[in-house]
Subunit: 457 residues, 2 copies
Amino acid sequence: MGTVDFWCEWAWFGGDRPASGVLVGARDGRIESIVTGTPTPPRRSRILRGLTLHGVANGHSHAFHRALRGRTHGGRGDFWMWREAMYRVASVLDPELYHRLARAVYAEMVESGYTAVGEFHYLHHPLGGGRYRDPNVMGEALIAAAAEAGIRLTLLDTLYLHGGLGEHGYEPLSLPQARFGDESAEAWTERVGRFDPGSDARMGVAAHSVRAVDPRSLEVVATLARERKLVVHAHLSEQPAENTAAMFNHGLTPTGMMARAGLLGRDFTAVHATHLSSDDIELLGSSESTVCMCPTTEADLGDGVGPSARLLSAGARLCVGSDSHAVVDPFTEARSIELNRRLVDGVRGVHHVTDLARALTNDGYRSLGHLAPDGGPWDPFAIGAPCDLVTVGLNSVRLAGHGPRALLPAVLFSATASDVTDVVIDARVVVAEGRHVRIDAAAELATVLDDLWNRDW
Amino acid sequence: MGTVDFWCEWAWFGGDRPASGVLVGARDGRIESIVTGTPTPPRRSRILRGLTLHGVANGHSHAFHRALRGRTHGGRGDFWMWREAMYRVASVLDPELYHRLARAVYAEMVESGYTAVGEFHYLHHPLGGGRYRDPNVMGEALIAAAAEAGIRLTLLDTLYLHGGLGEHGYEPLSLPQARFGDESAEAWTERVGRFDPGSDARMGVAAHSVRAVDPRSLEVVATLARERKLVVHAHLSEQPAENTAAMFNHGLTPTGMMARAGLLGRDFTAVHATHLSSDDIELLGSSESTVCMCPTTEADLGDGVGPSARLLSAGARLCVGSDSHAVVDPFTEARSIELNRRLVDGVRGVHHVTDLARALTNDGYRSLGHLAPDGGPWDPFAIGAPCDLVTVGLNSVRLAGHGPRALLPAVLFSATASDVTDVVIDARVVVAEGRHVRIDAAAELATVLDDLWNRDW
């Protein structure tokens, strides 16, 4: 790849407000130069009209959950009943179908304004147990899907050992869960050790949760992550029942268990972290862990509203994830962090708008392991950073009449995924005029979901 | 107007699920015939591909609040601080600017899928007090705006007498509030009595709230509504402070005050009804009152989550309103009723999907006074009902792969305003291919808001 220039009508750099007329030069997928105060686009530059954000991270994805969108609202239920439906979908996927589904889902993500995704991947093995001949074939299907869709993937290979944590300790895996499980933490370590993601993806690891991973195995995950310098994610306290089970069996909160296992720290992302004690918040904050909030999923599943502002104050970072993909829309995700707290707290402006924007961009990238050479997070638009850009058009009825002095809040509180016009990843144009340039995302979703739901289960 | 036929690929009739191949014949703006099971569109019929709902009502609008969208997220605050910003906008509007703003806002509403609106109108008088030569000129500006935008308007002429309810009783109107106030309930009655909305709008009335209208004046509103057979609306318990003030001064909850004044009943709509006692819920339910929830505004302003399911169980009806227009999206509004309760209650399926759809359609129309000849609510698609149709395309990435057996939940939980392709009001096509056929809504919004914000205040 040679050099390519992108001219942004407006671009948000991470300060208080966006700058106008920003020329971004890229080489080999990375930002090479930035010139502000360029009122007119130079010839041959790619014109990005509207507000451009640096890359937007989807910190938590289960690609196959997309199959359940709109299909589980028929009656009463709760998180645990929804999970049974999700297990049924998990049971029907083979590597070929999983690849097709993930490709369409990742294409939807890019069209909706995400440039990077963390796939929390636990659908490893064939139905009924055992291993595929290539034990990482399901992960490879995801890597191929992401490469075709053009999204930057961090594959979080997830350890899942137990079916749950009940009154009598850890429970065996159920039939659908057997696909998720390696025989032991050591077997998982061995398999992950042999997994070469190639140049199309970044590797990360995850412990599913304290429900699925016992304390000794949590330590194995922490050790592997430390030795291989990988980011590590885990579901944490999404439901009160998890807290109860952890206290009953281990005398610790799930956060306390993670801390004791040595997981917390700058490379650690706790997903959800909805039901936390004050001590939990202090542990996550003082360790500078990241918390990935998934507010649209947390609303869909009735999880509750997490202590986002207290976590930030304590020193934690925030990022967002679309998780179950009931909604795929980074702007809805970011503003829901604030709006859900307003509903609970009765006050406005619980978060600064720039904190919400940082969660979408810098801190999301950090959570997925996209770090600067010094190991710290990239500043947006830093020289050398990945050239990933998301442009939101300002001419829809939703944004019309925005204030130029309040452009960032206007976009974060009023834009929807349908307002994304252009997406650039690795300096390549992946979305133009609101459509993926190579994949008809809606058509592929329709075909693969029709195929999936019409199989014999 | 002659006859015109609309062929709906799918249409929701109010039963458990949509029907396919529905031919709707209209004459003079009303439905004349309905033929189901028509698999292919007849020649000359207008083809509506996707899911068509009968008219969708926006039960609560303050058109001018649209000017604040995205502009009040700069710092901390609460409902009362937001209200100060809103008063500043109110102070700059004259009939000409108000007409232009409302026309653009109503065009946005139609493009977003609303076919009818209830405008809770209290911006009656010139800044500084007194009356315009035509004392209803501001209301007439709204009527003209709605007629041009093609939306069905119920103008709820609102009584607003006092600046607030404090420790020492009712407070005088502040300078910005002086525009809202008639001298007395009798002066308001006299002005409303002279207000002829013509054929372009339906008349209704409102009492602003128990903060702005004293008990005796509430009775005047109830009497006028009863005598003239008008629907009557009122803000109710949006904030806990209103409840405290009502109890302190009157020994009753706001709902209790409304009940004592004779307001409750089938023609009454309580707007918000967020902070209710069990007795309040029983009063609203047993009187078969309607509650207009405005969940996107209630989140934006940190109001809280109202007891929607308990109200329905008690016998009340629900409808939705976009209120402050922070968001104009009927699907987001409807699903937020359910999703906000999930956040609070921790369970899914608190409401039946058809209850949410009824709130958008039948019960919204009832709240706005669009009643069948027997005085009851229209059934959707009943012969003789207004021919108002909203079609949602099913081919976006949001809806792709929906289940045909779960089409209504797919649309209510996954569609956004940007998925509305066609809107028919009074048997006339107002939106085609997602755009208003006569008004460039986004361009007019941009122009009028630019003008408004650049005036000397």
